[in-house]
């Protein structure tokens, strides 16, 4: 090495600016997305922090009050009481735990299965691809509600069934998205460069293909969470989901809907909580899509 080389080599390393860093920068400039993210975080903290805020217990029945009573700020019943004289607001927070948990777990399941399934099918191609995607098609063709009813008939009503049912269907879209991405990335030259370097197929999938199709995946995840929450609410609304004394946003909205005329505040409170959560997730998803793929705007 010459003297010049040594001085060059000893210079401090320049930090690179990854595509992720670029995307984060663009996301943070999107006001709607950032405020949605803040709102969503507040909702998550409120729901999961509820046991530590010194609030009433969700099964605490107050015999002094009437059922479906109006909001009572003096006593701290911000949304009034439910049909069993319990604090509706507290129940809404605890119900949020169930709804959000179902949303996250089912999405995580769909993420893991969908990404691995789709990337493998797209990368291997040919007959393996055909076989794997036929399985997806078959599962896709089963009507979802029929599937849920079958499960409840066979196993009885249980919250785990909801996880299984939703997890089993929501990875199908993910697998299709990832497969499409994989097929387009597979043709790019850096994959061939990795093959030529003796990189194993598994490592090509995990190090080269998956990181490059993560953009659409992240966006789809933020859109899956609200979808799953909505599905869970729907199942609970139909009476096949969460059971007393537990609640979810779906059961609360469905109970409040029945007494809409005598206790409008109940449906407004529960409904807006659900709507705000879903909307903020959608705005976050939109923001991520714009940030990750600036060409698409």
């Amino acid at each position: 090495m010459s003297v010049a080389d040594i001085t060059l080599a000893s210079q401090p390393e320049v930090k690179g600016r990854s595509l992720w860093a670029d995307a984060r920068h663009r996301f943070l400039r999107n006001k709607a997305a950032v405020s949605s993210l803040v709102i969503f975080c507040i909702i998550v903290i409120a729901c999961f922090g509820a046991p530590y805020f010194g609030l009433r217990a969700p099964d605490d029945i107050n015999w002094e009050l009437e059922s479906w009573g109006p909001p009572n700020l003096e006593l701290g019943y911000w949304l009034g009481t439910d049909g069993n004289n319990r604090d509706l607001f507290v129940r809404l927070l605890y119900g949020g735990q169930v709804s959000l948990l179902v949303g996250f777990t089912a999405t995580m399941v769909s993420l893991v299965i969908g990404v691995i399934w789709g990337a493998t099918a797209g990368f291997l191609g040919g007959r393996v691809d055909g076989f794997m995607m036929r399985i997806v098609d078959i599962l896709y063709s089963i009507p979802f509600i029929f599937f849920v009813i079958m499960l409840t008939v066979v196993f009885g009503r249980h919250i785990t069934l909801i996880y299984i049912a939703i997890g089993a269907v929501s990875w199908l879209d993910m697998a299709r998205i990832v497969r499409g991405q994989t097929i387009s990335i597979r043709r790019r030259e850096f994959i061939e460069a990795a093959e030529a370097s003796g990189v194993s197929r598994w490592r090509i999938i995990t190090r080269h293909i998956i990181p490059n199709c993560l953009g659409p995946v992240v966006v789809y995840v933020t859109l899956t969470v609200p979808n799953v929450i909505l599905i869970e609410s729907f199942i609970s609304f139909l009476g096949m989901g969460v059971q007393e004394p537990d609640s979810s946003w779906g059961t609360l909205v469905s109970e409040a809907a029945v007494v809409m005329e005598i206790a409008p505040w109940a449906i407004i409170g529960t409904g807006s909580m659900l709507a705000i959560t879903l909307l903020s997730l959608n705005f976050i998803g939109d923001g991520l899509r714009d940030a990750l793929d600036p060409r698409d705007r």
Binding site: G16, F190, E192, N212
Partner: protein, 331 residues
């Protein structure tokens, strides 16, 4: 006696079945992208591979590295036919053979840092190497190809085309391979940068002693770097010769046409030179001409050319040509 070849390609054929699948068959369609190519590559030698775009150069380069399956023929690497190895055996051979691509940026994973990109082939074959050792080797390699080692944490999109190609070269060189296929490594670059990259490859070859297969659609680009030049047309070898004979004494009408398209720096000579303008386009590879594939555009074509494909015959000690009417150009 000449040294034993590193690589010996024997009657290699790569055909693509492009039949459009229809309910009732559809007419079979086959592109013979590489059709019976034979050549040797000696250690430390550079073979220039020239031909118009679409004549099968990339396909040949990839089949030599078994990135594509061969339809027929053999690719013998140090006595072993690569296309008969199993997957694991082939992976082991990849340590000694590498490829550099035309579009430098497309050949680099946009989500990986330069350091990770260059280190990948190294870690594949040396999984026990410590992180610091890998980093040191990568930094040395970066300096060797003319990149600043302190840029190791940057991402490909932060580099120019020429620099990105240097990254690709560093990745190809990191395992000290014995052969590199360079698939039009400078065609996508500015003319001012092309020479730098070609010189870099020559310097590295001088230092590390690997063989190169240097692909280009431009005869003048390979002139500087090649020891021998092979001219390809529609998947077949037209002429193969030492660098000096192919430029001073091209015997095949196609080589002569390619040669006359090369601009001469001296404007007076350039004006005197009479160009052979190639008539028409490359024929469809789906339906190549009978006999000699070049006959539809050849100024010397006669009846026999339409009937019989000429063999690749010796025209000198280091010169082979496939033409019924091979010979120097008449003025």
């Amino acid at each position: 006696m000449s040294p034993a070849p590193l690589l010996s390609v024997q009657d290699l054929k790569v055909h693509f079945d492009v039949t459009r699948k229809r309910l009732f068959g559809g007419t079979p369609a086959i592109v013979k992208a590489v059709d019976g190519v034979t050549f040797d590559l000696k250690p430390g030698e550079t073979l220039g591979l020239v031909g118009e775009s679409g004549c099968g150069k990339s396909t040949l380069g990839r089949a030599v590295l078994r990135l594509l399956p061969a339809t027929a023929g053999r690719v013998v690497w140090l006595g072993e036919d690569l296309h008969s190895l199993d997957h694991a055996e082939m992976q082991q051979k990849r340590r000694d053979m590498q490829i550099i691509f035309q579009d430098p940026l497309a050949s680099l994973n946009p989500r990986m840092t330069v350091g990770q990109i260059i280190a990948e082939p190294l870690s594949v074959f040396n999984p026990d190497l410590s992180g610091t050792e890998v980093k040191n080797r990568v930094r040395q390699m970066m300096a060797k190809v003319g990149l600043l080692p302190n840029q190791i944490n940057r991402y490909p999109h932060e580099f120019s085309g020429g620099q990105a190609q240097r990254i690709g070269i560093a990745r190809a060189m990191i395992n000290n391979p014995r052969m590199i296929v360079c698939d039009e490594p400078v065609s996508a670059l500015d003319v001012s940068i092309q020479a730098q990259i070609v010189n870099l490859l020559m310097d590295l070859q001088h230092e590390m002693g690997m063989s190169l297969i240097f692909i280009s659609h431009n005869l003048s680009v390979v002139r500087h770097i090649s020891h021998r030049v092979m001219v390809l047309y529609l998947g077949k070898v037209m002429e193969i010769a030492d660098r000096d004979s192919i430029y001073a004494n091209p015997l095949h009408p196609y080589t002569q046409a390619l040669n006359s398209a090369v601009p001469i720096p001296d404007p007076d000579l350039e004006r005197q030179k009479d160009r052979i303008v190639l008539k028409g386009d490359l024929p469809s590879p789906l339906n190549p001409p009978s006999g000699c594939p070049f006959r539809t555009r050849c100024p010397r074509a006669t009846e026999i050319c339409a009937q019989i494909m000429p063999d690749l015959l010796p025209a000198g000690p280091t010169h082979h040509v496939a033409c019924h009417h091979a010979g120097p150009r008449e003025r």
